[in-house]
């Protein structure tokens, strides 16, 4: 059975969960996640964090608390940087400290420090020291890490083929990596760079959705924006579905390299949606008090004012957001986009 590792279903769960899961399972652990975000989870998070913290951070605290009593460890990595010369966000850098100071009665925290901003050495050290909690064998840690990276590569491929994280994770659970037919089916569905091409057929209009994965993919936080848009007859392409090559190229049009990994992706995706003509509307969903998005959103808004072909809207969500308010705005936006298309 082994040790049980709890992974909070929040923040970069939506980017890295398949990798973390494979890593811990290959080391003989069992992985559990907290459930979906609910009002109770959010309320628990709000209670222990400062008012000024952003919504995703509050949600994360709630998920950690929800894991209490369900596992031997909670995995709260300190994600400083996942690529050279770029960071995630200051709050991710202090996340384990915030959790430790505010959440009491939770299992032991695994706070691997992932920092690739300067060298790979720190990363190797982090992987190794995390692995050592489960096994003494270097070889096993090495293999587990390799498997985990392979899982991540596969997951990223699914996402870029136009799947949401839930769909991608479901497929990965169904079909182990050796399952060739399932693989081929997915490969066929993804005709890069045509994430947008693949989904275009089904809806009347295609909407490019720009936002942090932990905002747009969390049905509670985003008021289920993806499903709602689909119900209104729109197909949705998210910023994560664009291949990194595209977002990097587009983001490079900004005079300075954006030093947030996620922020650069949002900026590149926004530029692409606004300029490339692959979508009919571009929607930016952001969390209240998100630092990077306050500037990225501004740049996108100014870009959209320059190229007026694609309607652009920003929706800000926070813990008080009412469903009706969001729905009205989504409906209005889809109406605008649809009418534009008919003209």
């Amino acid at each position: 059975m082994g040790e049980v590792v709890g992974i909070p279903r929040a923040l970069l769960y939506y980017h890295y969960y398949p990798m973390w899961k494979v890593f811990f399972e290959s080391l003989g652990g069992t992985v559990v996640t907290s459930g979906e975000t609910t009002r109770a989870v959010l309320d628990a998070g709000i209670k222990v964090t400062v008012d000024e913290a952003c919504l995703p951070i509050k949600v994360f605290h709630g998920h950690v608390l929800a894991l209490a009593g369900k596992c031997d460890y909670v995995f709260v990595p300190r994600l400083v940087s996942v690529e050279r010369r770029a960071f995630i966000c200051p709050k991710f850098m202090g996340l384990p400290d915030m959790i430790r100071c505010n959440c009491h009665g939770i299992p032991r925290i695994i706070d691997s420090c992932i920092n690739l901003s300067r060298t790979t050495r720190e990363y190797i050290h982090a992987v190794y020291s995390t692995g050592r909690m489960f096994t003494g064998s270097m070889l096993r840690i090495f293999t587990a890490h390799n498997k985990a990276r392979a899982a991540l590569a596969r997951y990223t491929r699914y996402i870029e083929s136009g799947m949401t994280p839930d769909e991608a994770m479901a497929i990965m659970d169904l079909a182990p990596p050796c399952d060739k037919p399932a693989h081929r089916a997915v490969a066929a569905a993804s005709s890069l760079p045509g994430a947008s091409e693949a989904v275009r057929g089904s809806g009347r209009v295609v909407i490019g959705l720009v936002g942090h994965p932990y905002v747009i993919y969390d049905p509670f936080v985003s008021m289920d924006v993806i499903r709602r848009l689909q119900e209104m007859g729109a197909s949705v392409v998210t910023s994560d579905m664009l291949p990194a090559a595209i977002t990097e190229r587009e983001a490079a049009r900004f005079p300075k390299r954006v030093f947030w990994t996620l922020g650069r992706r949002l900026l590149g995706a926004g530029f692409y949606f606004l300029r490339s003509g692959t979508v009919h509307g571009c929607l930016h969903m952001r969390a209240f008090a998100c630092g990077p998005e306050s500037l990225i959103g501004e740049v996108l808004e100014r870009e959209s004012a320059r190229c007026r072909d694609v309607p652009f809207a920003t929706i800000t969500v926070d813990e008080h957001t009412g469903e009706a308010g969001i729905l009205t705005r989504l409906e209005a936006f889809v109406d605008v986009v649809t009418r534009r298309r008919k003209l």
């Binding site: 850098m93 202090g94 030093f259 800000t316």
Partner: protein, 369 residues
Amino acid sequence: MKITFAHMGNLYITVKALLEDLGAEVVVPPMPSKRTLSIGSRHSPEFACLPLKVNIGNYIEAMELGADTIAMAGGVGPCRFGLYGEVQREILKALGYEFEMIIIEPPQGRLRHVLRQLGRLVGRNPVGKYVRAARLAWAKMTAVDELEKVVQRVRPFEGRRGAATAALASALKLVDEASSIVQVKRALEDGREMLLSVRAPEGDAPDPPRIGIVGEVYVVLEPFVNFDVERRLGEMGVLVERSIYIGDWVREHLFKDLFRLRKGRRPYDLAKPYLCHFVGGHGVETVGHTVEYARQKFDGVIQLAPFTCMPEIVAQDVLPAVSRDLGIPVMTLVFDEHSSDAGVLTRLEAFVDLVERSCRRRAAKGARG
């Protein structure tokens, strides 16, 4: 070419000295006012942090006075400050202003690079001139920091309310007007005299409460946005100590990368186990200095932060634990364009009341024991 730059407390004295000595024409923006803030927030992104908005106001007011070049510092993150220059340029361009913005990026970290950027600002100069200008600017910066430290020690004991603040203003003017290092030294001496002479003749009140100020550098240094917290506290009879001075900021921002110096590790060591990793901005310093003030038996700590400041939110989140463990009252004041004078004052008074009470209690205990 008329160069301008954003205000941050008394930083203008240093920057003006540096640029003017290198032969540039400088337009110092009017000191930040209600108007600056309202112009700035009208044109800035709603959720951007406060410094960006005040900067925009500064630039616009300076361009109204004829400035056509803006000098700004850059950065490599993760704090938003590193993108200020680029976003501000977009905002001002969209408003139709004609100007050039020169962003001096420290990260590339080569002296030659910084000099080349400076050269774009002030034209070609012999190296000796750079050295001379830098030394004068440095002397002025040190003098300003020194005067600000003196005024904090003097203010609670001033004979007439406002005397210390007035003396500081004239002392700063002397430093600003000095044109050589010798003159700066003399200005510093005179200024110190002036400040020390405002003490009440009847001698010092016994043992005033001591409060440390920590937080984000801009709101700590800029009295306009923090509603003059330091002066207010001083006039309530509190001995204020501040965790960061302009000199620290410049040293850290310009020279840390330039000369590959390791950052002073002290705040980092102190901040453990509460905050164990760099979080951008001054998050770790805020926590580290709070611990230090607690160890030095300060009576309270006030954290200042702009609304939505990411590093300070992390710090604010762990400060209650520090406060609990080390038994020091901590209050956080968050500023944005909606902050009001009365709101800040009320909270300061309440905090000082609390601190004074615990001070008295301790004194009574001391007398008994």
